[in-house]
């Protein structure tokens, strides 16, 4: 069997499909600004944010960048109707507004019809100058409270992994290893440690592509 890592893309393995793209900006001290996503389900969102409209300097979403005196915090989560955005920062040193680019995947428990997102006649939809990640497995697990939930991948190397936590219908991207809650990976497994939430579900995607 061929090694998926030898391919830029391979129709034997699912490729990521972005079903949502939102861009814009929100002012400082805005909390839970609702941006309708127009989907019939809650998407798995991820993206970047920046005080620069060109995103030359950018932070992952969510961002908790308190180490450079700007005290920037930018959060995003989604439910079945909206994406909710919040931005706070140091009044003296942080930008008056923050820009965002948010993308979304369809959760594995959804099989919905979704409008096309690639409708640019002059841009590349696929380009074999680049690699496109090949999905090995994806799903939703109940993350045992006060314990570690293990998802085997058995690849014998470190794969790329993405994850989101799902609480009471709101889905948030993981970007922090908190004091107790975290997601880690080694050459055999993905580990979800849940300290904070009795009813936590975690959406995950494990790729054949190496980290």
């Amino acid at each position: 069997m061929a090694d998926p890592r030898d391919f830029l893309l391979n129709t034997d393995y699912e490729m990521d499909k972005i079903i949502l793209f939102k861009t814009g900006d929100i002012p400082r001290d805005a909390l839970d600004v609702a941006v309708p996503h127009g989907l019939s389900f809650t998407p798995l969102i991820f993206g970047i944010c920046s005080g620069d409209p060109n995103f030359a300097e950018n932070f992952s979403i969510p961002c908790d960048n308190i180490g450079n005196s700007r005290d920037i915090q930018f959060y995003a989560w989604a439910d079945e109707t909206n994406i909710y955005l919040s931005y706070t920062g140091n009044q003296s040193t942080s930008p008056n507004k923050f820009y965002y680019r948010i993308y979304g995947f369809e959760p594995t428990n959804v099989k919905a019809h979704v409008a096309s997102t690639s409708n640019y006649a002059n841009n590349f939809i696929l380009n074999t100058d680049y690699n496109y990640c090949k999905l090995k497995s994806a799903g939703i697990v109940d993350a045992t409270y006060y314990a570690t939930t293990t998802i085997p991948h058995n690849l014998n190397y470190l794969p790329q992994v993405m994850a989101w936590y799902d609480l009471a219908g709101g889905i948030n991207p993981y970007a922090e290893s908190g004091r107790m809650d975290n997601i880690s990976v080694d050459e055999q497994n993905v580990y979800i440690y849940n300290y904070s939430y009795p009813d936590l579900k975690v959406h995950y995607r494990i790729y054949y592509d190496e980290a």
Partner: protein, 133 residues
């Protein structure tokens, strides 16, 4: 309108092109910190990517055999089962060619704390954001 879940790939939907993989290690300088004080370091690395790249980051701190899939890695300094120092490692893209890593540690105890230099291993996979050439 189609169901994307019916297809392994479908050109009706944008995807994300991976443009590079980078792996590096660096040494966080050890320190002695007095009560109520903190240390705050910024490390800068050359990690080229297109402007506005989406970076997936994995971080391993010396002594831990796992990589964490997070941009913000909490750190804890424990002495005799008591947490005496709290801090973090925070990673972000500071420009098209640079990644900055912030290391912060504060003393939350009544006496001085110290830690030795330790190695941090970082893996960054950069992606070209769709709709941006």
């Amino acid at each position: 309108m189609t169901r994307p879940s019916d297809f392994t790939l479908n050109s009706d939907y944008l995807s994300i092109a991976q443009t590079g993989r980078h792996s590096f290690s660096f040494l966080v300088t050890g320190a002695t910190i007095q009560p109520g004080e903190y240390v705050d370091h910024i490390y800068t690395f050359t990690v080229p990517a297109v402007a506005g790249a989406i970076d997936r980051v994995m971080v391993q701190v010396e002594g831990d055999n796992k990589y964490y899939i997070n941009y913000y890695q909490y750190l804890s300094l424990v002495s005799n089962n008591v947490e005496v120092g709290v801090g973090y490692i925070n990673i972000y893209r500071s420009g098209p060619n640079t990644i900055k890593i912030l290391h912060y540690m504060s003393n939350v105890s009544a006496g001085p704390i110290s830690y030795d230099s330790f190695t941090v291993n970082v893996k960054i996979t950069s992606f070209k954001p769709p709709n941006v050439l």
